[in-house]
């Protein structure tokens, strides 16, 4: 074993610890948050320690899971996402006492998705990720939140069914459940084709790719802000990781079956997602559509199907996540008691809280892909991947999407720098935990834009799909 699954065990321990903390005190308690955060930090340290382990890659449980640098990178990303979500919602009385435990459970699902090398583990990870999120989405206690939870549950269960059906067909067509053995098995063609299509549909549903995106805006809008933060970053990492693993390990041979289809979906998602973002007045919905569009960018990395694509996708996940963390923590501070932020709430923010506005500006410009922020470097990497795969269409789709997105992202900024109406001139209050998130996320975003070399080095190692170009 040599501790390869240590990070996952730490998270399991954290789930128990934070639940016990709630049981002991019989009410919501800050101890649960501390326990959860400690587990995340411990798992992060363990992940970092595993990084240089010579034993990698390690296959466990009859090749059911595969711990390699890719899974460790995914671990790092989802740990960051859950730490951000915990801090954004830090000890907030509006959410149930079980908020930290549920976040950790979903985190565990995302980590499992990073390591899955088997259909069953894949499905386990998807369910482990989804079930706590259904509860979390409904945990706001107000009508929109319950609606979001129910909507997410119904549509999520539907997509899980499709996914399961697809996996069953693939097993029938190949006789194996192990992703890395799929490539060499002789597939029964029509069956395998149908299985592949259904599985991919099930997975891109979680990623929020158009036309399987209908749930995203409503669920993001209805869920409490910290949960939306977590979904926007964490779920995307988990879904992208398993899609990449599934296709790159299992179907690197039969690329003709999925590459063009995913390419078209990526272009459609990037362009339409940004167009829809343009029309939004509610910031959560704006970031929901932005999340859809960004899922399209991630799909560019996957459908480019080369090493650069996988690396660019990993890099982009980080820059997107940091921008989302920064934007959502600013929105949480601006929203205070309420649960949504509209364009009007931002009017005159620059005068009320200049620093907060500056942070928001960095996050939005990073999402828009302006240089000296991480978002630019991420898009640059994706462009390299697309053009290296001789797919100029993907590159054009990416920049057209980015152009449209830009208009969507600068509108809130223009509002923020505009004069206020004088109604609420009081500066926005900064909770300490939220301030930690926003400062780290903004520094990271700028750092990745100014000197990305170390992170580029890390993703180049973690996405070593040597059989690709």
């Amino acid at each position: 074993m040599n501790g390869a699954l240590g990070p996952e065990y730490m998270v399991v321990l954290g789930v128990f610890a934070s639940m016990i903390a709630v049981m002991v005190s019989r009410q919501r308690t800050i101890a649960a948050y501390w326990a959860a955060l400690a587990a995340v930090v411990a798992a992060g340290i363990w992940t970092a320690a595993l990084w240089s382990s010579p034993a990698l890659p390690i296959s466990l449980y009859a090749q059911g899971v595969r711990v390699d640098l890719f899974s460790l990178a995914i671990d790092g990303l989802v740990l960051l996402a859950s730490a951000g979500a915990l801090l954004v919602g830090w000890n907030d009385a509006r959410y149930g006492a079980d908020f930290p435990a549920l976040v950790l459970l979903a985190l565990l699902g995302m980590m499992v998705l990073g390591l899955a090398n088997n259909f069953l583990v894949l499905f386990l990870g998807i369910e482990l990720l989804s079930l706590p999120l259904y509860v979390l989405a409904a945990s706001g206690g107000y009508a929109e939140s319950r609606e979001a939870g129910l909507k997410y549950l119904l549509l999520g269960a539907f997509s899980s069914g499709i996914l399961l059906f697809g996996l069953a067909l693939l097993y029938g067509a190949s006789g194996t459940m192990v992703l890395t053995q799929l490539a060499n098995s002789s597939l029964i063609l029509p069956l395998a084709g149908a299985g592949l299509a259904l599985t991919v549909v099930g997975l891109v549903f979680k990623l929020g790719i158009i036309p399987f995106h209908m749930w995203v805006p409503d669920v993001y809008e209805g869920s409490p802000l910290p949960v939306t933060t977590f979904m926007a970053f964490g779920t995307k990492v988990g879904a992208a990781a398993i899609l990449l693993r599934f296709l790159f390990y299992g179907f690197s041979v039969a690329v003709g079956w999925w590459e063009p289809a995913l390419g078209y979906l990526a272009v459609l998602t990037m362009v339409a997602g940004n167009l829809l973002a343009l029309a939004q007045k509610d910031m959560k919905r704006l970031l929901a559509y932005s999340g859809i569009a960004n899922a399209g960018y991630l799909l560019v990395g996957i459908s480019a199907h080369n090493q650069a694509g996988a690396r660019a996708m990993l890099f982009y996940l980080l820059v997107y996540g940091l921008a989302v963390l920064a934007a959502f923590s600013v929105f949480t501070m601006v929203a205070r008691e309420r649960n949504s932020v509209s364009l009007n709430d931002l009017t005159g923010l620059a005068r009320r809280s200049p620093w907060l506005t500056a942070f928001l500006a960095v996050a939005m410009l990073s999402l828009a892909g302006i240089p000296l922020t991480g978002g630019f470097v991420g898009k640059f990497y994706l462009l390299q991947a697309a053009l290296d795969a001789n797919e100029p269409g993907l590159a054009i789709g990416l920049v057209v999407g980015a152009m449209i997105g830009l208009a969507a992202y600068v509108r809130p900024l223009q509002r923020a720098f505009q004069g206020g109406d004088g109604t609420s001139e009081a500066p926005v209050r900064w909770p300490v935990a939220g301030a930690v998130v926003v400062v780290i996320a903004v520094l990271g975003t700028i750092g990745l834009g100014v000197y990305p070399a170390p992170i580029v080095h890390i993703v180049n190692h973690s996405a070593a799909f040597d059989w690709l170009r």
Binding site: P354, L365, I370, P371, L372, F376, V377, K379, F380, L383, Q384, L387, D388, P392, A395, I396, V399, V400, A402, M403, L406, A407, V410, Q414, F417, Q418, Y451, P452, A453, V456, H457, N460
Partner: protein
């Protein structure tokens, strides 16, 4: 290291303005820009060494800056005009205004020094952001719309430029070369026939919008009309040169065969722009818009110089860029001083102002004469060289350019005559203050100096263009 100075000082100063008091920000900014100007003097007279540091080694990106003859004087234009623009700005603007101004100086300096395409692109796009916020917050009633138009039009161009840059690097790599964004390494590479035209257009559109050149000048009237005078001076004096400079720096080495192939189309487009700008300037009643459209026409003149594809034409353009920047920058600032005194820009509302403000009228006349190309002032030298280049390649366009020179004299003098001469109308205005003369004199002096000694610039630019001109003369070159 003076090159780093030119970048680091404005960046540090930008942060310092944020920490300064609201009233002290202008002083901090003025000192910063002056220190940057001193750094430029060091670059010019002491040491012109560039820097070449690894940045993202996995992609072959290097932070490579050079001050060769092409960019050297544009860096100077940048340093000079920012000092003037900051001194011409009001203290009331607040610290964030000066923060954006200095950030703009930083990014433009980076742009004019970059010889790595990645670095070039980073600065190319970063400079949009300060202008966007300057237009959003410190401009007229329609400033917000002007800002959005500026950002979106320019970014549409830049994103295609981005695809083009990555595609060129990837093609170079796939052809067996190293993965690099170094312009000198990529120059003269063979592009696949199908891709070459598309890439050429992708690059050209970005530069065409930024200049701006007709018909992609849609952002220009609003941005020029709405922005405060110092910002207009910077946009038209410095930023517009970025487009022309980009064609010279980036496109010439990469796309010479395509320039040959499309020369006639490009010349026709530029000539239309030349006429359009001049005729539109003639029809304006807003003195700032006359200058704006006149500037549009002058940008087309520079483009004609490049597209003549002759050594003298291209040299004329590199010279005219600097000269035009100084003159039009000065002109916009003088117009701003005039507007702040009269409260209007409509030329029919003003007359005979030279009675009450003779010094202001004198500087106005000086920059007007420079803009219309009076011999002895630098505009004439640049236009002369460009027309000589056109005569060598396509004489028809030389005739058009000559005609436009006449129109230019007409529209510029029309403004001067209406505003300054004739019987005085309305109340008298205050003349220039001593502190305003203090920075207008050096600017005017500099204009006269480079007008009298053009070789100071052209002799430096010529070696930098050696590769291009050599190739054009058919003496080999290229690969």
């Amino acid at each position: 290291m003076f090159l780093v100075w030119l970048l680091a000082v404005p960046l540090a100063g930008a942060i310092a303005t944020l920490l300064a008091s609201a009233k002290g920000a202008k002083v901090v900014a003025a000192i910063t820009s002056f220190v940057a100007l001193v750094g430029y003097a060091g670059l010019l007279f002491v040491n012109r060494a560039g820097v070449n540091w690894p940045w993202i080694s996995a992609w072959g990106v290097r932070f490579h800056l050079e001050a060769d003859g092409l960019g050297l004087f544009l860096l100077g234009l940048n340093a000079v005009l920012f000092v003037v623009a900051i001194l011409a700005s009001s203290e009331e603007m607040g610290r964030v205004y000066y923060f954006w101004l200095l950030l703009l100086e930083f990014s433009v300096a980076g742009l004019f020094a970059a010889v790595d395409l990645f670095v070039f692109y980073v600065f190319w796009e970063v400079l949009l952001i300060p202008v966007f916020f300057l237009l959003t917050q410190w401009s007229g009633a329609r400033g917000k719309a002007a800002a959005l138009k500026w950002l979106i039009m320019n970014l549409v161009g830049s994103f295609f430029l981005l695809v083009g840059i990555v595609a060129v690097a990837v093609i170079h790599h796939q052809n067996g070369g190293a993965f690099t964004f170094e312009i000198s390494a990529l120059s003269g590479m063979t592009l696949p026939a199908g891709a070459a035209t598309w890439l050429f257009v992708a690059f050209l559109v970005a530069f065409w919008i930024k200049a701006p050149l007709w018909p992609l000048h849609g952002w220009m009237p609003d941005a020029y009309g709405e922005s405060p005078a110092p910002v207009t001076a910077l946009i038209s004096g410095v930023l517009s040169k970025a487009g022309i400079y980009g064609i010279l720096r980036v496109m010439m080495p990469l796309f010479l065969p395509q320039f040959r192939q499309f020369q006639l189309v490009l010349l026709i487009l530029a000539a239309i722009g030349l006429l359009y700008g001049a005729l539109a300037a003639l029809r304006q009643n807003d003195m700032k818009m006359v200058t704006a459209y006149g500037s549009l026409s002058h940008m087309a003149m520079m483009a004609l110089g490049i597209f003549s594809l002759t050594e003298v034409g291209i040299l004329g353009t590199t010279y005219y860029m600097v000269a035009h920047g100084l003159m039009v920058g000065g002109l916009f600032i003088v117009l701003g001083l005039l507007e702040s005194r009269t409260g209007t820009r409509t030329i029919q509302d003003m007359a005979g102002l030279n009675k009450s403000a003779p010094r202001l009228a004198a500087y106005f006349l000086f920059f007007v004469l420079g803009a219309l190309g009076l011999p002895g002032l630098p505009g004439f030298v640049g236009e002369y060289m460009i027309i000589q280049g056109l005569i060598q390649s396509q004489v028809v366009f030389a005739v058009v350019a000559g005609f436009v020179l006449v129109v230019a004299a007409w529209y510029m003098l029309r403004v001067f005559q209406a505003v300054m001469q004739g019987p005085a109308k309305g109340s008298a205005i205050r003349d220039l203050l001593a502190r305003q003369v203090a920075w207008l004199v050096p600017l005017a002096g500099l204009v006269v100096f480079i007008g009298l000694w053009p070789a100071g610039i052209t002799s430096h630019a010529a070696p930098s263009l050696y590769h291009v001109t050599h190739f054009l003369a058919g003496k080999g070159g290229g690969q």
